[in-house]
Amino acid sequence: MSARMSWRRVLIFAGLTLLASQVNAAGAANVANAAQIERGRYLATAGDCIACHSVAGGKPMAGGLAVATPIGAIIASNITPSKSHGIGNYSLAQFSQAVRHGVRADGAHLYPAMPYTAYARVTDDDMAAMYAWFMHGVAPVDAAPAQTTRLPFPFNIRLSMMAWNWLFLDKQPFVADPARSVEWNRGAYLVQGLGHCGTCHTPRNALMGEQASKQLGGANLGTWSAPNITSDVNSGVGSWSQQELAAYLRTGRSAQRGQAAGPMAEAIDHSLRHLSEADLNAIALYVKSVPALRDPNDSKPVTQWGQAGDKLAELRGVPLPKDLNRMSGAQLYDANCASCHQAKGQGSFDGSLPPLFHNSTTGRSNTNNLVMAMLDGVQRQGAGVGNADGYLMPAFRQTLSSEQIVSLGNYVQQLYGNPAGKVTLEQVTILRQGGAPSDLIGLVRGSLIVAGLALLLLILWWRRKED
């Protein structure tokens, strides 16, 4: 998609977009009708606006969530129609400019924590519907979020995003591929646009732009890892049926495949589970068509590793070591995991407590999600299986030491998962602290010190090379 487009096309489409916005601004004078507002609500749900623009227990869209990014926490803004603190004074054109192009009504640039590079795919018609809902369907909150965004230099200068947008923002709305079915095009539109799947699942380059050649190929998010969801049979979702994938997007779990946790659980709870069957099927169809990318460690499907087993014979009758950090993986499993995942890792009879083998969390060589699940548990909101809301799996951050998580994680990988997946003390220590610090700040600052202008030239050269 975007990054491969030529500059000429960018300019042409920017012009078209501008024209389109003006046309729509004129139409905005019309009173929004109920059907349009409702459609806007659905689309805003598909865009998962609430995930960032609300805090737990807070008022919808009133902002305040600190979104962790490699350059620091970005505080989501109040996007209720409040005239004093929200977007109540925005025209449709200004709303569109903010959502699709990352520029506020006052001209300041948004940070790409707001996935406007994806939302740029949204059609004018859908923008108008979302605008109608935001203006008429959201309760205004006349208060600013408690915190404000404070980023380090040079990112505190919002204008710095102009350069970034020049490189990574493609303003062209989605164009249907006439060679593909209506369903596929709907899926592509949702995945690339409002669904902003690539925001997490597509790896980024050194300057945090999505790498188009590796679309949905999987990316580390600092703590949790967004897995490869290309059509590859081993590394991606190629072995899933369209129905299985759609069901997973609705419930957050799939027997013998895996379960959503961390940010994916949030995406399902806030957004995906509210979408229509038709849209979920379309998303699944499209995702299964994304060009396959394979991790060479995945010599078989990530959902096919491991089998039932235990090492009870090794631990019955054997006292615990005096230093509990030296407990064996089998002892730790018996103590902390077996109550729910059962003695042989088989989970509960109906799969609501998942098996640890044939589970994509343990089937990958990247073990970050296994470690994160142990540290922070699996939390669901409003969508738990059998109404089991909240923590489906408790967090062990306070009760297991990092050494114990290493022993336990490796035991689980060896017995139930992909043995190529290793858990290390360094990894657990970093994940416990919230992920590895980004070198982006140093990189950009360093470059600035060496030569302010040279940076831009360097980037341009690099950009051209990518083309």
Binding site: A335, N336, S339, Y391, Q404
Partner: protein
């Protein structure tokens, strides 16, 4: 003497009550240190020990006593830590470890009934509490929201706010018992601190049926969680800090606590306010150990009331085989009871009681019984199946009146740290025995209604203990016969407070923990009010981190 530490508030004991008191102080901005006699423990290692134990029904088997902070152990043999002076044995079990004894409770989190506070005024027995039910009601609620309590709404304890969650789903056996006993008896869901939904970052109960000795998933609230919450709120907990003496100044204010670390090095900790939260046996023991020339009988004890009025809930039971398959063991261990005898004019003559149904799986007990009787082969299998399906049991939870002769004193024997052991003087009074006799009518009726055969009552005159240690630090208006005032403040020491079930002046018919927690939360409110500090609004323990 090694290293000196100081803190605004010093809490002795990291059990559920001490930890929640400390947490509330810390949330209001205070600097709080907890000294815990025993070691730090985590759920995982306890679960591990439980699974590896050959004595699964011994609730203490996953909690071995440590020499640096011993606690009573009775199986396989009595360790002799709690010395028995008689005439009736008082084999109290408790845990001296991070989090305290509620690691192995069954999460019974009951409120008193309002008349429990006026036992003497209404029925001419026992004593009245210095406060009313209404005064304690908001603190019951606060405790219930922290712990995640649910229960039936018709148990005789009125409430102004709903429980924070629905009860755990009714176990099949309990449903059948409820159905078959109606309308003669009303069987109600027990009030328990057990999650029916994810709450406070902990999952819902999934029916492991080993609430005691350890809930393996923390669906059940306990002191270990409270201690972690206290730490999250900013409290420092020092483990392996076995306090053996409190020091006072010339005015009688407490100035320091002395403790032994695991190597028996002595340390001295100073503080402005001291909160003794070391349970109903270790707390009076420490007061008695702290005798000085100014206080030769021990601290707070000029009236010789410390350690007296020891109460618990003795139990007698009936086991029988029902005429239908019940399969006890699905769901939590102690989910239902009958509360009709918790209050009434009869309290003038005999003990009130609750009738509590067990839902503990019968497989382990029946297996042991059959093996001990030499049954084997097909007959073993047949009988095991029958007993596991049909056997059921109920017990009385009998009230005990405060009796000054039932007491904790210091023994002449020393423990493994060279500190005098606690000694229990105990007896079962006629009031309690008469309550047991009255309950025989109920036992017979329940057996009849369940089509019971092979009735096996507990041995006449034998009363099992329930580890609900009360009374030894009684609060009261009359300073001559109580140890502390209604705020838990020692009558004799202005900066010494008790947060413990020991302060309960009477024991009623419900497990003592929630009363102890609610009183402690009230005490902390009072302490903060005296300092002109408004307590921080308690963070709702909804889905979220453990704070």
């Amino acid at each position: 003497m090694a290293e000196q530490m100081t803190s605004d508030y010093l809490v002795i004991g990291s059990g559920i009550i001490g930890s929640l008191a400390a947490r509330k102080l810390a949330l209001a901005g205070a600097s709080v240190l907890i000294l815990e006699a025993g070691p730090r423990v985590t759920r995982g290692e306890i679960v591990s020990r439980f699974r590896n134990s050959t004595r699964r029904s011994d609730l203490m088997s996953p909690y071995p006593s440590v020499p640096t902070a011993p606690h009573p152990i009775y199986q396989p043999t009595d360790s002799g830590y709690l010395v028995q002076a008689g005439p009736y044995p008082y084999p109290a079990e408790y845990i001296r470890q991070f989090g305290g004894t509620t690691w192995h409770w069954a999460a019974q989190a009951w409120r008193n009934v309002p008349n429990d506070f006026r036992l003497h005024s209404l029925y001419g027995v026992g004593v009245d509490w210095p406060i009313s039910y209404d005064e304690l009601e908001p603190y019951y609620q606060e405790a219930e929201e922290i712990m995640g309590v649910s229960g039936a709404d018709n148990t005789g304890s009125p409430r102004k706010q709903p429980f924070p969650m629905e009860p755990v789903i009714e176990a099949y056996a309990m449903r059948r018992v409820r159905e078959r006993l109606a309308p003669e008896y009303k069987v109600v869901s027990n009030t328990t601190a057990r999650n029916s939904v994810s709450y406070g970052g902990r999952p819902a109960c999934c029916g492991n049926n080993n609430c005691q000795p350890i809930c393996p998933v923390d669906a059940q609230y306990h002191g270990g969680i409270a201690a972690l919450q206290a730490e999250a709120a900013g409290v420092t907990i020092r483990v392996n800090a076995n306090v053996y003496q409190l020091e006072h100044d010339a005015q009688g204010r407490i100035v320091a606590a002395l403790y032994y670390d695991a190597d028996k090095n002595s340390h001295r900790v100073t503080a402005k306010t001291f909160i003794l939260a070391a349970n109903g046996i270790e707390s009076p023991r420490l007061l008695l150990l702290s005798a000085s020339s100014k206080y030769p009988k021990g601290l707070a004890n000029s009236n010789d009331m410390v350690g007296r009025h020891l109460m618990d809930h003795p139990s007698t039971s009936l086991t029988f085989d029902a005429d239908e398959d019940l399969w006890l063991g699905r769901g939590p261990q102690s989910p239902s009871s009958i509360g009709t005898m918790r209050d009434g004019a009869f309290r003038g003559t005999h003990a009130a009681y609750r009738l509590d149904f067990t839902n503990i799986s019968r497989v382990d007990g029946a297996t042991r019984d059959l093996i001990s009787r030499g049954v084997y082969g097909e007959e073993f299998e047949r009988q095991l199946r029958f007993s596991s399906a049909r056997e059921m049991s109920l017990k009385t939870v009998l009230e005990v009146l405060p009796n000054p002769d039932n007491r904790i004193t210091l023994s002449s024997e020393k423990d493994s740290m060279g500190i005098p052991k606690p000694q229990a003087h105990y007896s079962i009074g006629d009031y309690t025995r008469l309550g047991h006799q009255r309950a025989q009518k109920d036992f017979a009726a329940v057996a009849r209604l369940m089509g019971g055969t092979n009735l096996r009552p507990s041995k006449e005159g034998a009363y099992a203990n329930n580890q609900h240690i009360c009374g030894t630090l009684s609060m009261g208006r009359d300073a001559a016969v109580s140890v502390c005032n209604e705020w838990g403040r020692a009558h004799e020491h202005a900066n010494l407070f008790f947060c413990s079930t020991g302060v309960l002046p009477t024991c009623g018919t419900c497990n003592s923990t929630e009363n102890g927690v609610a009183l402690a939360l009230r005490t902390v409110d009072h302490i903060l009010a005296e300092q002109g500090i408004k307590p921080a609004p308690a963070p709702v323990a909804s889905a979220g981190a453990r704070v």
